[in-house]
Symmetry: C2
DNA sequence: CGTGGTGTTGATTACTTTCAAGATGTGTGG
DNA sequence: CCACACATCTTGAAAGTAATCAACACCACG
């Protein structure tokens, strides 16, 4: 019930980038599953065999090291599809960041749907490899700038960007600590590049400056 | 001519992991193309439309930042296939590291070959995402250890590992400077974990210790 | 109106980079 | 076959960036 209410709020703020109910050939659309904030969608080692399309909310995909260090490899917002990493078993964890609705498409075999999966896999591959450049060769400011630019683009290029995730999530995505993320936000604020409307809502004041910093 | 001679040396030391001349359905096998050390195979922005299978030698896949910083996203050794990143145009550069032979498979459209491309794309995706964890959350020793463990596995788990690439390449792959890479090698040597038979040839003395360090 | 979770800021520490010099190796030409 | 030369690699010292440790502020929720 609580999730439902929250869901509506999210829905209005995260505009889908693709048609939300785009069906896949040979698979009947499933009803939307709801996940409250923090709920696991699938775990590393679990059997794979479904595609997940975010209806509203946001999802994080991550891996853990033995000592608990976490690397978030991707965020998925409304309209985006995930779950096809790995062959038969999942190599990553997927968790709802906020109250999230996910449409699940059970698929018989990946091979049968390869035509539809390939573009998704290639897109994911390109994204991952671009992120490698960020983690391998960019400093803290550049990483945060790249992250914000990406979020802006995925939300339609609006002046205002909503961050569905916490600073910890951002840090674990960018390979930084939350303190460093926080300090960079402060620096960008002081430079007049961004304004914090609230903790999770940012106004991009100087879009070009941000773009320049991100490379 | 010189390339040919060098090629033989490479061929004997880098055992292929898959059948080398594995053909793809619907594409006739092309003759092997030779690339001398440092030669570009394709460039960012170029039209894509071929698969490349390494016959011997080694290839680096990388991106550049405007100021010249380079991130190598992958190395490809004998037997491995690359070139399917990106949709219609390449998003990365591919270069021969040493004298390298590559079998080129021209493909009509990615969609037609999706059944064969999907496993490759998924494998690449998984690798890239695992590498994200290394770059985002591991320190210099852990990165080098992870790199060595990976190289050992890809060369069949032998005690002796050949590194076809320079320290600069390793640094640009691990997001480190060549000095740091060199220092870590020295530390591993002092700890008795590895021995340097030559600059590009390493003996793994304590395989377990290396594995432990890599996570 | 507390209370726990998040986020910010400051001081210090640790790690990696940068700058610099020297060593080692490889290839070339004598 | 040896010697020179250029590239690659190693090592050292200093500087810089981000992490860690710690305290406090701010929200959101009960």
């Amino acid at each position: 019930m609580y999730a439902q209410v929250n869901a509506k709020i999210e829905l209005s703020s995260y505009l889908p980038r693709q048609g939300l109910s785009h069906a896949f050939d040979g698979v009947s659309a499933q009803p939307v599953s709801y996940f409250p904030a923090g709920r696991e969608i699938y775990a590393q080692g679990e059997k794979a065999g479904a595609l997940y399309q975010v209806e509203f909310g946001a999802v994080r995909i991550y891996r853990l090291l033995a000592d608990g260090r976490r690397q978030i490899s991707a965020f998925h917002l409304a309209g985006e599809t995930f779950g096809f990493e790995g062959d038969t078993t999942h190599h990553f964890f997927a968790e709802a960041i906020n109250a999230t609705g996910v449409r699940v498409y059970r698929i018989a075999s990946a091979a049968d749907m390869s035509r539809q999966l390939l573009p998704l896999a290639l897109k994911g591959l390109t994204r991952a490899q671009e992120h490698l450049l960020v983690l391998g060769r960019q400093n803290a400011i550049e990483r945060v700038a790249a992250f914000l630019v990406d979020m802006v683009e995925r939300q339609g290029g609006l002046r205002q960007v909503d961050l569905p995730m916490s600073r910890i999530d951002i840090g674990d995505y960018l390979g930084l600590t939350i303190e460093t993320v926080s300090r960079v936000f402060t620096r960008l604020k002081e430079k007049g590049v961004i304004r914090l409307l609230s903790l999770r809502s940012i106004e991009i004041v100087k879009h070009d400056a941000l773009r320049d910093m991100s490379e």
